[in-house]
Symmetry: C2
């Protein structure tokens, strides 16, 4: 990790993520990519601030007045977003400085990730911005999102209409986390802020850690980091944030081959993996192994109370699934809760075969699958488990019988937030499973693609609870 | 692993999986579970053999004549399926012997997995069947499926209409693999045979290995095994099968806690995990870690030619995804292919930024997303990579621009079966991704939920190719 001179922290990051006004610079042709798409995304997602499209060839677009240049906009804007060709960017940044803009997102590619000319160009815009007090995100980024104000800067069309406001801040050195690539609405994924660092010529993980630590909407910070520019400061900042909010990091580049590939796509150098590994441990940063975990694991931390211990109860729809869940639990530091005799009695009152942990719904499953039938007893079983003082967290497979009644049956239970829960729904229809997952997410219960993923998420919650306790 | 006396191999397993006639014994009430559901599933899925519902209280159901007992059926049936209560089963098995039936599936639970009475009951039916030359599957099983003849014995309603015939044989000690729990149609999952062993009182993994090794429809055998009854014979059989067909095994029970849970749900004892680990290696059996891998990894082996080496080409829609894919590839024994200059030239002719491995579609992605636009050049790029003699296998992310044209654009390429391929589709709509995945599966290209899973599947193909070469 290199040391670097840092720009002074400022509320410019707040302007980047909570802008009152945005200039959109780039092609305004109606297409699948570009300034037109960004402007129309902002309108569709209900962004209520002022939008200033910039392009010398237009007078108006999408019922918005178009300005020939950023410096012609009649107020200093909080944020400039540009997708103009790389060689046009220095002029746009200079214009933005003249406008007294606070932050600029450079969507355009062809900078340090491309070649030496690109490197020089990137250095040039960095210098212009730095001299003019303008903070830069990118280049080579799809920018930011903030669902609570309808902020979305991606220059790609998004196939849905709504982002969900929630507790997860996602930051990455890739546009994979952008709304154009994530089924945020279909999965009811609750986002507080999203930020793609791109080439990270200025704004970086430390700026965002600083900001997100204070952001009341953010409950958990998830970051994909190919390189960390200033290791010392990152660690210091992370140690400061971790006692307040969990920090989950995906750090690729475990091998020489991937390190070379990273250098070519963001023009950045990666450090030794073992150095990162040790540093993360020291700072209480939780490292995950793949992109799916980076996206899914934070859900349990964003919505659930922290577990007080590592004793897990497991509800499955098959004995075989229960065994697999125990394997995963043991491998990740959880232990199988011994249900109290009161709980066992309550379960046995529904059916004698239920009185154990894992609670296997399998033998009586047909009954649970009937809507309105014994399904109505299922939440009471879950409630009994959650009230058991021998249980710290619960991984719950959910039978289909509760379909359409999830809010009604589980909503009140979730409000009481007794224990850490993670849910999975399986079955012969993807569409039905997705609908039920959405319903669970909507009431604040995190869902996972299978028991394996749900149990691993609970294990991370246990781990974070210990890390947090260690700091206090 | 215990040694056990084995029933003589016979074509009874063929009668189990290719029955010409089936007796269905159990409740014929129209419900969500039971004999009625099994009989109606058989009719819905187009089973063309003779179906004999058995129940003393009915004359006819679903336009089928009902018989009071199995022994009243006017021909010896190939297969009896019973979901009658456990205590009624010995009589049904005796009747089946009297009918000279060949095989029986005991769906009913309440046997060795329940308590000592159940253990005795299980021993009793095993003895009756064994004396009468009747092979038993179960108890405590959802039975078998064979899509090529519309055979499906699950007593649960299935929400779809069609099973897909393909090269994967799935066997398990859990009903999780059953059509009632798997979105087989929505994912176009190509099954040759499915068999849930249940409590394994008779028919077991060795019977199925023997049978599936000779089954021309089966290209790859995937087994979930909580216990292996006769370790020596299993190893001997597996060593014989592995040079012909890959055998993928999920063996849970890595920990004491999960071993205890296994004992309670199938009444079986598990052996030491390390013994299994060594034995699998010796026999060339490939072990996977979780249920999802057991289901998904065989797809590449069922549909793709084996790779000649471990050099992987990667096509991504983002540089960041490329880096992650390389990490996974390196960790699993693949190496990044050095594309030939001819291939690099062909890629550069589309766009200079494409001329590398991973091939990152990201910078020009908007163009690929346009249906009918530059998307039409994408298959030629893929063809060039597949023709490169430095490439053994290809992990391919697919942009949405080819949506609706997958068969047309990729079909001919797949026919030529040049190299091992695995595909993943990502994006903001689950429904669109699922549709594209289905289209790829329908032309014989295996799809995975992300690059990570696709690359790991390719690595297993490389591993199996080496195992196979080692045997020859």
């Amino acid at each position: 990790m290199m040391k670097a001179v840092r720009n002074a922290p400022s509320e410019a990051i707040d302007r980047l993520l909570n802008p009152k006004s945005i200039a959109v610079v780039g092609s305004l042709r109606e297409a699948r990519f570009g300034g037109y798409v960004t402007a129309s995304n902002l309108l569709r997602f209900g962004y209520a601030g002022r939008i200033y499209p910039v392009n010398p060839q237009y007078d108006a677009v999408l019922n918005l007045k178009v300005y020939p240049s950023v410096k012609d906009i009649p107020e200093p804007v909080d944020l400039v977003v540009t997708m103009a060709g790389a060689t046009a960017v220095p002029k746009i940044i200079a214009d933005s400085v003249q406008n007294r803009a606070r932050a600029a997102i450079i969507v355009s590619d062809g900078f340090s990730e491309r070649n030496d000319d690109g490197k020089r160009l990137q250095e040039e815009i960095r210098r212009i911005a730095s001299g003019g007090g303008l903070r830069l995100l990118g280049p080579n980024t799809i920018g930011v999102a903030n669902p609570s104000i309808g902020l979305i800067t991606t220059p790609y069309r998004v196939t849905y209409e709504k982002m969900i406001t929630g507790g997860i801040a996602l930051c990455a050195q890739t546009g994979l986390i952008g709304p154009q690539n994530m089924p945020l609405e279909e999965t009811h994924y609750g986002l507080s802020k999203m930020c793609d660092f791109g080439n990270k010529c200025d704004i970086d993980e430390i700026d965002l850690l600083d900001y997100l630590a204070e952001d009341p909407d953010t409950k958990v910070i998830a970051m994909h980091l190919e390189m960390i520019r200033d290791g010392q400061t990152f660690l210091k900042t992370a140690r400061d944030v971790v006692p307040r909010k969990p920090v989950i990091v995906l750090k690729p580049g475990r091998t020489r081959e991937s390190q070379r590939a990273m250098a070519s796509h963001t023009g950045s150098l990666a450090g030794e993996d073992l150095v990162y590994e040790g540093a993360f441990k020291q700072a209480g940063v939780i490292r995950v192994d793949n992109f799916r975990d980076l996206i899914d694991i934070p859900k349990v931390l964003a919505t659930q109370p922290l577990p007080r211990g590592n004793r897990v109860a497991i509800v499955t729809i098959s004995g075989g699934a229960g065994v697999m869940a125990i394997d995963v639990a043991s491998a990740h530091g959880l232990t199988l809760a011994r249900l109290s005799s009161a709980t066992l009695d309550k379960l046995a009152a529904v059916s004698p075969v239920l009185a154990s942990n894992p609670v296997d719904l399998g033998p009586g499953l047909p009954a649970y699958q009937v809507p309105g039938g014994i399904a109505s007893r299922f939440p009471a079983m879950i409630e009994a488990i959650l009230e058991d003082e021998n249980v710290d967290c619960l991984g719950m497979a959910c039978p289909w019988g509760v379909r359409g009644k999830i809010a009604e049956l589980f909503g009140p239970m979730v409000q009481r937030k007794k224990k850490t829960m993670a849910v999975w729904v399986a079955g012969p229809s993807l569409a039905i499973a997705e609908e039920m997952n959405r319903d669970f997410e909507a009431i604040g219960l995190p869902t996972y693609s299978d028991g394996d993923a749900a149990i691993r998420a609970l294990a991370v919650a246990v781990r974070y609870a210990r890390i947090k306790a260690g700091f206090s």
